[in-house]
Symmetry: C2
DNA sequence: TTTTGAATCTAATCTAGATTCATAAATCGC
DNA sequence: GCGATTTATGAATCTAGATTAGATTCAAAA
Protein backbone atom coordinates (compact mmCIF):
# COMPACT_ATOMS: atom_id res chain seq x y z
CA UNK A 1 0.00 0.00 0.00
CA UNK A 2 1.68 3.17 1.24
CA UNK A 3 5.03 3.61 -0.34
CA UNK A 4 7.27 4.55 2.57
CA UNK A 5 6.04 3.58 5.97
CA UNK A 6 7.91 1.15 8.09
CA UNK A 7 8.76 2.14 11.62
CA UNK A 8 10.03 5.59 10.77
CA UNK A 9 9.78 6.72 14.37
CA UNK A 10 10.36 4.88 17.60
CA UNK A 11 8.03 4.95 20.59
CA UNK A 12 9.42 8.27 21.78
CA UNK A 13 9.30 9.90 18.38
CA UNK A 14 13.07 9.67 17.77
CA UNK A 15 13.99 8.98 14.15
CA UNK A 16 15.05 5.45 13.34
CA UNK A 17 17.41 5.10 10.38
CA UNK A 18 15.07 2.44 9.02
CA UNK A 19 13.98 5.36 6.89
CA UNK A 20 17.24 5.18 5.03
CA UNK A 21 17.09 1.45 4.57
CA UNK A 22 13.85 1.68 2.67
CA UNK A 23 15.90 3.24 -0.09
CA UNK A 24 16.34 -0.33 -1.19
CA UNK A 25 12.70 -0.49 -2.05
CA UNK A 26 13.15 2.47 -4.32
CA UNK A 27 16.18 0.96 -5.93
CA UNK A 28 14.17 -2.15 -6.71
CA UNK A 29 11.28 -0.14 -8.05
CA UNK A 30 13.58 1.94 -10.22
CA UNK A 31 15.40 -1.14 -11.42
CA UNK A 32 12.09 -2.65 -12.43
CA UNK A 33 11.11 0.50 -14.29
CA UNK A 34 14.34 0.61 -16.18
CA UNK A 35 14.35 -3.05 -17.04
CA UNK A 36 10.77 -2.87 -18.24
CA UNK A 37 11.51 0.18 -20.33
CA UNK A 38 14.50 -1.51 -21.93
CA UNK A 39 13.43 -5.08 -22.42
CA UNK A 40 9.66 -5.04 -22.29
CA UNK A 41 7.28 -7.00 -20.16
CA UNK A 42 7.84 -10.45 -21.54
CA UNK A 43 11.59 -10.35 -21.34
CA UNK A 44 11.79 -8.84 -17.86
CA UNK A 45 12.87 -11.47 -15.33
CA UNK A 46 12.67 -10.92 -11.67
CA UNK A 47 16.32 -11.83 -11.57
CA UNK A 48 17.14 -9.04 -14.03
CA UNK A 49 15.46 -6.55 -11.77
CA UNK A 50 17.17 -7.89 -8.68
CA UNK A 51 20.55 -7.83 -10.32
CA UNK A 52 20.13 -4.25 -11.47
CA UNK A 53 19.10 -3.31 -7.95
CA UNK A 54 22.14 -5.07 -6.50
CA UNK A 55 20.17 -7.62 -4.57
CA UNK A 56 19.19 -11.32 -4.76
CA UNK A 57 15.80 -12.20 -6.19
CA UNK A 58 14.23 -13.27 -2.90
CA UNK A 59 15.02 -9.93 -1.36
CA UNK A 60 12.45 -8.41 -3.65
CA UNK A 61 9.78 -10.27 -1.73
CA UNK A 62 10.66 -8.43 1.38
CA UNK A 63 9.29 -5.29 -0.23
CA UNK A 64 6.78 -6.53 -2.76
CA UNK A 65 4.34 -9.41 -2.48
CA UNK A 66 4.98 -10.59 -6.03
CA UNK A 67 6.55 -9.81 -9.33
CA UNK A 68 3.16 -8.85 -10.67
CA UNK A 69 2.55 -6.43 -7.84
CA UNK A 70 5.94 -4.84 -8.36
CA UNK A 71 5.28 -4.34 -12.04
CA UNK A 72 1.83 -2.99 -11.34
CA UNK A 73 3.35 -0.40 -9.06
CA UNK A 74 5.88 0.64 -11.68
CA UNK A 75 3.05 1.16 -14.13
CA UNK A 76 0.94 3.10 -11.67
CA UNK A 77 3.82 5.39 -10.82
CA UNK A 78 4.68 5.86 -14.48
CA UNK A 79 1.15 6.70 -15.48
CA UNK A 80 0.88 9.16 -12.66
CA UNK A 81 4.18 10.87 -13.35
CA UNK A 82 3.34 11.26 -16.98
CA UNK A 83 0.05 12.88 -16.26
CA UNK A 84 1.37 15.07 -13.48
CA UNK A 85 4.25 16.32 -15.56
CA UNK A 86 1.98 17.26 -18.41
CA UNK A 87 -0.57 18.81 -16.10
CA UNK A 88 2.10 20.87 -14.41
CA UNK A 89 3.41 22.10 -17.73
CA UNK A 90 -0.08 23.12 -18.77
CA UNK A 91 -0.79 24.80 -15.47
CA UNK A 92 2.29 26.95 -15.93
CA UNK A 93 0.92 28.51 -19.10
CA UNK A 94 -0.74 31.93 -19.02
CA UNK A 95 -4.51 31.71 -18.90
CA UNK A 96 -4.90 33.26 -22.31
CA UNK A 97 -2.64 30.76 -24.07
CA UNK A 98 -4.27 29.76 -27.36
CA UNK A 99 -5.58 26.17 -27.31
CA UNK A 100 -3.23 25.00 -30.03
CA UNK A 101 -0.26 26.27 -28.06
CA UNK A 102 -1.51 24.32 -25.11
CA UNK A 103 -1.56 21.20 -27.20
CA UNK A 104 1.99 21.84 -28.28
CA UNK A 105 3.05 22.31 -24.68
CA UNK A 106 1.50 18.96 -23.86
CA UNK A 107 3.36 17.34 -26.73
CA UNK A 108 6.61 18.73 -25.41
CA UNK A 109 5.96 17.70 -21.84
CA UNK A 110 4.90 14.22 -22.85
CA UNK A 111 8.03 13.65 -24.90
CA UNK A 112 10.25 14.98 -22.16
CA UNK A 113 9.00 12.58 -19.51
CA UNK A 114 8.87 9.74 -21.95
CA UNK A 115 12.31 10.11 -23.42
CA UNK A 116 14.32 11.93 -20.86
CA UNK A 117 12.90 12.08 -17.39
CA UNK A 118 11.32 8.86 -16.39
CA UNK A 119 11.89 5.19 -16.99
CA UNK A 120 8.54 4.73 -15.31
CA UNK A 121 6.73 6.65 -18.00
CA UNK A 122 8.63 4.83 -20.71
CA UNK A 123 7.72 1.53 -19.11
CA UNK A 124 4.09 2.50 -19.30
CA UNK A 125 3.94 3.39 -22.94
CA UNK A 126 6.11 0.53 -24.06
CA UNK A 127 4.22 -2.11 -22.14
CA UNK A 128 0.68 -1.02 -21.55
CA UNK A 129 -0.49 -3.08 -24.49
CA UNK A 130 1.19 -6.24 -23.24
CA UNK A 131 0.10 -6.38 -19.65
CA UNK A 132 -2.09 -9.09 -18.18
CA UNK A 133 -5.68 -7.97 -17.98
CA UNK A 134 -5.33 -7.97 -14.26
CA UNK A 135 -2.81 -5.16 -14.07
CA UNK A 136 -4.36 -3.33 -16.96
CA UNK A 137 -7.61 -3.07 -15.09
CA UNK A 138 -5.91 -1.39 -12.17
CA UNK A 139 -4.29 1.14 -14.48
CA UNK A 140 -7.50 1.98 -16.22
CA UNK A 141 -8.55 4.77 -13.88
CA UNK A 142 -5.21 6.55 -14.16
CA UNK A 143 -4.74 6.11 -17.85
CA UNK A 144 -8.32 7.18 -18.38
CA UNK A 145 -7.56 10.41 -16.60
CA UNK A 146 -4.67 11.03 -18.95
CA UNK A 147 -6.80 10.32 -21.98
CA UNK A 148 -9.38 12.73 -20.62
CA UNK A 149 -6.77 15.40 -20.36
CA UNK A 150 -6.03 15.09 -24.05
CA UNK A 151 -9.65 14.79 -24.99
CA UNK A 152 -10.27 18.03 -23.20
CA UNK A 153 -7.32 19.71 -24.85
CA UNK A 154 -8.62 18.83 -28.29
CA UNK A 155 -12.22 19.60 -27.49
CA UNK A 156 -11.33 23.11 -26.39
CA UNK A 157 -9.27 23.67 -29.48
CA UNK A 158 -12.12 22.53 -31.67
CA UNK A 159 -14.54 24.74 -29.79
CA UNK A 160 -12.23 27.67 -30.38
CA UNK A 161 -12.24 26.89 -34.07
CA UNK A 162 -8.57 25.96 -34.00
CA UNK A 163 -8.98 22.45 -35.39
CA UNK A 164 -10.09 21.74 -38.94
CA UNK A 165 -13.47 20.16 -39.46
CA UNK A 166 -12.27 17.18 -41.46
CA UNK A 167 -10.48 15.94 -38.34
CA UNK A 168 -12.22 13.31 -36.24
CA UNK A 169 -11.28 14.19 -32.70
CA UNK A 170 -11.07 10.72 -31.28
CA UNK A 171 -9.03 9.38 -34.16
CA UNK A 172 -6.76 12.41 -34.10
CA UNK A 173 -6.19 12.11 -30.38
CA UNK A 174 -5.26 8.45 -30.63
CA UNK A 175 -3.06 8.96 -33.66
CA UNK A 176 -1.15 11.72 -31.88
CA UNK A 177 -0.79 9.74 -28.69
CA UNK A 178 0.35 6.81 -30.78
CA UNK A 179 3.04 8.90 -32.42
CA UNK A 180 4.22 10.02 -28.98
CA UNK A 181 4.01 6.64 -27.33
CA UNK A 182 5.95 4.97 -30.08
CA UNK A 183 8.94 7.25 -29.69
CA UNK A 184 10.75 5.12 -27.11
CA UNK A 185 10.93 2.38 -29.73
CA UNK A 186 13.11 4.41 -32.02
CA UNK A 187 14.45 7.51 -30.38
CA UNK A 188 17.98 7.42 -29.22
CA UNK A 189 19.85 10.35 -27.72
CA UNK A 190 22.81 9.54 -29.93
CA UNK A 191 21.04 10.21 -33.20
CA UNK A 192 19.21 13.48 -33.11
CA UNK A 193 18.49 15.79 -30.24
CA UNK A 194 15.40 15.60 -28.10
CA UNK A 195 14.48 19.15 -28.89
CA UNK A 196 14.64 18.33 -32.57
CA UNK A 197 12.10 15.58 -32.15
CA UNK A 198 9.93 17.82 -30.03
CA UNK A 199 9.96 20.58 -32.62
CA UNK A 200 9.03 18.25 -35.42
CA UNK A 201 6.29 16.65 -33.38
CA UNK A 202 4.85 20.01 -32.46
CA UNK A 203 4.91 21.21 -36.02
CA UNK A 204 3.32 17.99 -37.22
CA UNK A 205 0.52 18.32 -34.73
CA UNK A 206 -0.01 22.05 -35.11
CA UNK A 207 -0.29 21.95 -38.87
CA UNK A 208 -1.82 18.50 -38.91
CA UNK A 209 -4.78 19.58 -36.84
CA UNK A 210 -4.89 23.33 -37.15
CA UNK A 211 -6.60 25.57 -39.66
CA UNK A 212 -4.23 26.84 -42.38
CA UNK B 1 12.56 -22.56 -44.54
CA UNK B 2 10.31 -22.77 -47.60
CA UNK B 3 6.74 -22.25 -46.55
CA UNK B 4 4.85 -24.96 -48.41
CA UNK B 5 6.90 -27.88 -49.54
CA UNK B 6 6.27 -31.33 -48.29
CA UNK B 7 5.87 -34.13 -50.80
CA UNK B 8 3.83 -32.19 -53.30
CA UNK B 9 4.79 -34.51 -56.11
CA UNK B 10 5.37 -38.25 -56.17
CA UNK B 11 8.28 -39.97 -57.87
CA UNK B 12 6.64 -39.81 -61.29
CA UNK B 13 5.64 -36.18 -60.97
CA UNK B 14 1.95 -36.95 -60.34
CA UNK B 15 0.31 -34.60 -57.82
CA UNK B 16 -0.19 -36.05 -54.37
CA UNK B 17 -3.14 -34.63 -52.41
CA UNK B 18 -0.84 -34.24 -49.44
CA UNK B 19 -0.88 -30.66 -50.67
CA UNK B 20 -4.30 -30.25 -49.14
CA UNK B 21 -3.30 -31.70 -45.82
CA UNK B 22 -0.73 -28.99 -45.34
CA UNK B 23 -3.63 -26.64 -44.82
CA UNK B 24 -3.20 -27.53 -41.19
CA UNK B 25 0.10 -25.77 -41.22
CA UNK B 26 -1.61 -22.65 -42.44
CA UNK B 27 -4.29 -22.92 -39.81
CA UNK B 28 -1.63 -23.10 -37.16
CA UNK B 29 0.24 -20.17 -38.63
CA UNK B 30 -2.93 -18.11 -38.86
CA UNK B 31 -3.90 -19.08 -35.33
CA UNK B 32 -0.53 -17.92 -34.12
CA UNK B 33 -0.89 -14.63 -35.96
CA UNK B 34 -4.29 -13.99 -34.51
CA UNK B 35 -3.33 -14.93 -30.99
CA UNK B 36 -0.25 -12.75 -31.16
CA UNK B 37 -2.26 -9.85 -32.49
CA UNK B 38 -4.82 -10.18 -29.73
CA UNK B 39 -2.80 -11.07 -26.67
CA UNK B 40 0.73 -10.00 -27.44
CA UNK B 41 3.93 -11.94 -27.31
CA UNK B 42 4.24 -12.53 -23.61
CA UNK B 43 0.72 -13.82 -23.15
CA UNK B 44 0.69 -16.09 -26.18
CA UNK B 45 0.92 -19.74 -25.12
CA UNK B 46 1.61 -22.51 -27.53
CA UNK B 47 -1.53 -24.14 -26.17
CA UNK B 48 -3.59 -21.05 -27.08
CA UNK B 49 -2.37 -21.29 -30.62
CA UNK B 50 -3.03 -25.01 -30.82
CA UNK B 51 -6.51 -24.61 -29.44
CA UNK B 52 -7.41 -21.90 -31.89
CA UNK B 53 -6.11 -24.08 -34.71
CA UNK B 54 -8.17 -27.01 -33.47
CA UNK B 55 -5.22 -29.20 -32.70
CA UNK B 56 -3.24 -30.46 -29.67
CA UNK B 57 -0.02 -28.69 -28.77
CA UNK B 58 2.31 -31.48 -29.88
CA UNK B 59 0.84 -31.34 -33.37
CA UNK B 60 2.44 -27.95 -33.80
CA UNK B 61 5.81 -29.64 -33.65
CA UNK B 62 4.98 -31.69 -36.66
CA UNK B 63 5.04 -28.50 -38.72
CA UNK B 64 7.33 -26.18 -36.81
CA UNK B 65 10.54 -26.97 -34.97
CA UNK B 66 9.68 -24.72 -32.04
CA UNK B 67 7.40 -22.07 -30.72
CA UNK B 68 10.05 -19.48 -31.42
CA UNK B 69 10.38 -20.57 -35.02
CA UNK B 70 6.62 -20.42 -35.48
CA UNK B 71 6.44 -16.92 -34.11
CA UNK B 72 9.38 -15.83 -36.20
CA UNK B 73 7.58 -17.03 -39.29
CA UNK B 74 4.42 -15.15 -38.36
CA UNK B 75 6.45 -12.00 -38.02
CA UNK B 76 8.29 -12.54 -41.28
CA UNK B 77 5.03 -13.10 -43.14
CA UNK B 78 3.43 -10.09 -41.50
CA UNK B 79 6.28 -7.80 -42.31
CA UNK B 80 6.29 -8.98 -45.88
CA UNK B 81 2.54 -8.65 -46.39
CA UNK B 82 2.57 -5.17 -44.98
CA UNK B 83 5.26 -4.05 -47.31
CA UNK B 84 3.86 -5.81 -50.33
CA UNK B 85 0.40 -4.40 -49.82
CA UNK B 86 1.73 -0.89 -49.54
CA UNK B 87 4.05 -1.35 -52.50
CA UNK B 88 1.21 -2.68 -54.59
CA UNK B 89 -0.98 0.26 -53.71
CA UNK B 90 1.78 2.66 -54.67
CA UNK B 91 2.52 0.85 -57.89
CA UNK B 92 -1.10 1.24 -58.91
CA UNK B 93 -0.87 5.02 -58.84
CA UNK B 94 -0.34 6.99 -62.05
CA UNK B 95 3.27 7.95 -62.60
CA UNK B 96 2.55 11.62 -62.23
CA UNK B 97 0.89 11.29 -58.84
CA UNK B 98 2.14 14.12 -56.61
CA UNK B 99 4.47 12.89 -53.85
CA UNK B 100 2.14 13.92 -51.05
CA UNK B 101 -0.67 11.91 -52.61
CA UNK B 102 1.62 8.95 -52.70
CA UNK B 103 2.26 9.33 -49.00
CA UNK B 104 -1.46 9.44 -48.35
CA UNK B 105 -1.95 6.31 -50.39
CA UNK B 106 0.69 4.59 -48.28
CA UNK B 107 -1.08 5.71 -45.12
CA UNK B 108 -4.30 4.23 -46.37
CA UNK B 109 -2.74 0.96 -47.45
CA UNK B 110 -0.87 0.58 -44.19
CA UNK B 111 -3.98 1.10 -42.11
CA UNK B 112 -5.97 -1.28 -44.24
CA UNK B 113 -3.59 -4.19 -43.80
CA UNK B 114 -3.02 -3.38 -40.19
CA UNK B 115 -6.62 -3.05 -39.13
CA UNK B 116 -8.59 -5.00 -41.61
CA UNK B 117 -6.70 -7.41 -43.76
CA UNK B 118 -4.05 -9.20 -41.85
CA UNK B 119 -3.55 -10.50 -38.35
CA UNK B 120 0.02 -11.08 -39.42
CA UNK B 121 0.64 -7.41 -39.97
CA UNK B 122 -1.06 -6.54 -36.71
CA UNK B 123 1.08 -9.09 -34.93
CA UNK B 124 4.16 -7.37 -36.28
CA UNK B 125 3.34 -3.88 -35.20
CA UNK B 126 2.02 -4.90 -31.83
CA UNK B 127 4.94 -7.11 -30.94
CA UNK B 128 8.02 -6.03 -32.78
CA UNK B 129 9.22 -4.14 -29.75
CA UNK B 130 8.83 -7.11 -27.44
CA UNK B 131 10.55 -9.84 -29.37
CA UNK B 132 13.67 -11.64 -28.24
CA UNK B 133 16.73 -10.20 -29.93
CA UNK B 134 17.06 -13.46 -31.75
CA UNK B 135 13.87 -13.10 -33.77
CA UNK B 136 14.24 -9.39 -34.09
CA UNK B 137 17.53 -9.85 -35.86
CA UNK B 138 15.94 -12.05 -38.47
CA UNK B 139 13.25 -9.47 -39.13
CA UNK B 140 15.70 -6.68 -39.52
CA UNK B 141 16.21 -7.05 -43.24
CA UNK B 142 12.52 -7.02 -44.01
CA UNK B 143 11.54 -4.27 -41.66
CA UNK B 144 14.48 -2.27 -42.93
CA UNK B 145 13.07 -2.54 -46.43
CA UNK B 146 9.77 -1.17 -45.20
CA UNK B 147 11.43 1.72 -43.45
CA UNK B 148 13.35 2.43 -46.63
CA UNK B 149 10.13 2.60 -48.54
CA UNK B 150 8.89 5.34 -46.26
CA UNK B 151 12.20 7.09 -46.18
CA UNK B 152 12.09 7.23 -49.93
CA UNK B 153 8.51 8.47 -49.99
CA UNK B 154 9.39 11.36 -47.70
CA UNK B 155 12.67 12.13 -49.40
CA UNK B 156 10.96 12.49 -52.76
CA UNK B 157 8.29 14.70 -51.29
CA UNK B 158 10.91 16.91 -49.74
CA UNK B 159 12.85 17.04 -52.98
CA UNK B 160 9.67 18.15 -54.74
CA UNK B 161 9.27 20.91 -52.18
CA UNK B 162 6.13 19.31 -50.79
CA UNK B 163 7.35 19.04 -47.19
CA UNK B 164 7.98 22.06 -45.00
CA UNK B 165 11.51 22.84 -44.00
CA UNK B 166 10.94 22.81 -40.27
CA UNK B 167 10.22 19.08 -40.49
CA UNK B 168 13.02 16.69 -39.65
CA UNK B 169 12.52 13.82 -42.04
CA UNK B 170 13.64 11.01 -39.81
CA UNK B 171 11.62 12.21 -36.84
CA UNK B 172 8.58 12.80 -39.01
CA UNK B 173 8.81 9.37 -40.55
CA UNK B 174 9.02 7.67 -37.19
CA UNK B 175 6.25 9.76 -35.68
CA UNK B 176 3.94 8.92 -38.56
CA UNK B 177 4.79 5.24 -38.46
CA UNK B 178 4.24 5.35 -34.72
CA UNK B 179 0.80 6.83 -35.17
CA UNK B 180 -0.03 4.09 -37.65
CA UNK B 181 1.51 1.25 -35.68
CA UNK B 182 -0.28 2.21 -32.53
CA UNK B 183 -3.73 1.99 -34.11
CA UNK B 184 -4.29 -1.69 -33.32
CA UNK B 185 -4.09 -0.76 -29.65
CA UNK B 186 -7.16 1.41 -29.80
CA UNK B 187 -9.08 0.99 -33.00
CA UNK B 188 -12.14 -1.12 -32.89
CA UNK B 189 -14.53 -1.65 -35.79
CA UNK B 190 -17.45 -1.08 -33.45
CA UNK B 191 -16.56 2.52 -32.65
CA UNK B 192 -15.88 4.47 -35.77
CA UNK B 193 -15.38 3.31 -39.31
CA UNK B 194 -12.05 2.39 -40.79
CA UNK B 195 -12.42 4.92 -43.54
CA UNK B 196 -12.96 7.60 -40.93
CA UNK B 197 -9.67 6.79 -39.30
CA UNK B 198 -7.96 6.67 -42.65
CA UNK B 199 -9.30 10.07 -43.65
CA UNK B 200 -8.20 11.67 -40.42
CA UNK B 201 -4.78 10.08 -40.61
CA UNK B 202 -4.31 11.26 -44.17
CA UNK B 203 -5.38 14.76 -43.34
CA UNK B 204 -3.12 14.82 -40.32
CA UNK B 205 -0.16 13.73 -42.36
CA UNK B 206 -0.87 15.86 -45.41
CA UNK B 207 -1.25 19.07 -43.45
CA UNK B 208 1.23 18.03 -40.80
CA UNK B 209 4.04 17.68 -43.30
CA UNK B 210 2.92 19.67 -46.30
CA UNK B 211 3.40 23.28 -47.22
CA UNK B 212 0.33 25.43 -46.47
C1' DT C 1 27.25 -7.24 26.39
C1' DT C 2 22.93 -9.10 25.14
C1' DT C 3 18.75 -8.89 22.61
C1' DT C 4 15.89 -7.79 18.96
C1' DG C 5 13.98 -6.96 14.62
C1' DA C 6 14.91 -5.50 10.07
C1' DA C 7 17.19 -6.80 5.86
C1' DT C 8 19.23 -10.13 3.18
C1' DC C 9 21.04 -14.47 1.72
C1' DT C 10 21.37 -19.59 0.20
C1' DA C 11 19.14 -23.53 -0.77
C1' DA C 12 14.94 -25.86 -1.69
C1' DT C 13 10.21 -26.08 -3.70
C1' DC C 14 6.64 -25.46 -7.01
C1' DT C 15 4.56 -24.65 -11.41
C1' DA C 16 3.50 -23.29 -15.96
C1' DG C 17 4.67 -24.33 -20.24
C1' DA C 18 7.52 -25.98 -23.87
C1' DT C 19 9.27 -30.08 -25.77
C1' DT C 20 9.88 -35.27 -26.61
C1' DC C 21 8.36 -39.76 -27.59
C1' DA C 22 6.08 -43.96 -28.34
C1' DT C 23 2.01 -45.05 -30.39
C1' DA C 24 -2.80 -44.45 -32.40
C1' DA C 25 -5.65 -42.80 -36.30
C1' DA C 26 -6.11 -41.34 -40.86
C1' DT C 27 -4.78 -41.50 -45.58
C1' DC C 28 -2.46 -43.10 -49.57
C1' DG C 29 -0.61 -45.92 -53.44
C1' DC C 30 -1.52 -50.11 -55.16
C1' DG D 1 -8.65 -54.36 -48.64
C1' DC D 2 -3.54 -53.91 -47.19
C1' DG D 3 0.95 -52.56 -45.77
C1' DA D 4 3.43 -47.93 -45.82
C1' DT D 5 3.49 -43.24 -44.82
C1' DT D 6 1.74 -39.13 -43.14
C1' DT D 7 -0.58 -36.77 -39.39
C1' DA D 8 -1.86 -36.24 -34.73
C1' DT D 9 -2.27 -37.61 -29.84
C1' DG D 10 -1.79 -38.68 -24.64
C1' DA D 11 1.25 -39.25 -21.44
C1' DA D 12 5.79 -38.32 -19.84
C1' DT D 13 9.91 -35.22 -19.31
C1' DC D 14 12.55 -31.04 -18.80
C1' DT D 15 13.43 -26.36 -17.58
C1' DA D 16 13.25 -21.60 -16.56
C1' DG D 17 11.76 -18.78 -13.27
C1' DA D 18 8.81 -17.38 -9.54
C1' DT D 19 8.16 -18.20 -4.86
C1' DT D 20 8.96 -20.05 0.02
C1' DA D 21 11.62 -21.61 4.09
C1' DG D 22 14.94 -21.09 7.12
C1' DA D 23 19.46 -19.41 8.37
C1' DT D 24 22.39 -15.42 8.87
C1' DT D 25 24.08 -10.62 9.29
C1' DC D 26 24.09 -6.38 11.46
C1' DA D 27 22.95 -2.06 13.52
C1' DA D 28 20.84 -0.04 17.23
C1' DA D 29 18.57 -0.25 21.67
C1' DA D 30 18.48 -1.96 26.21
Amino acid sequence: MNTTSRNTTSAHGTRTPAVKAAATRNRILAAAARTLSLKGYSATRLSDIAERAGVRPPAVYYYFPSREELIAEVMAVGQLRLREHVETALAALPDDTPPMDRICAAVEAHLQVELHLSDFATAVSRNSGQLPEDIRARLRADSGAYFDLWRDLLARARAAGAIRNDIDLRAARMLVMGALNWTPEWWNPRQGSLTGVIRTAQSLVRHGLGVP
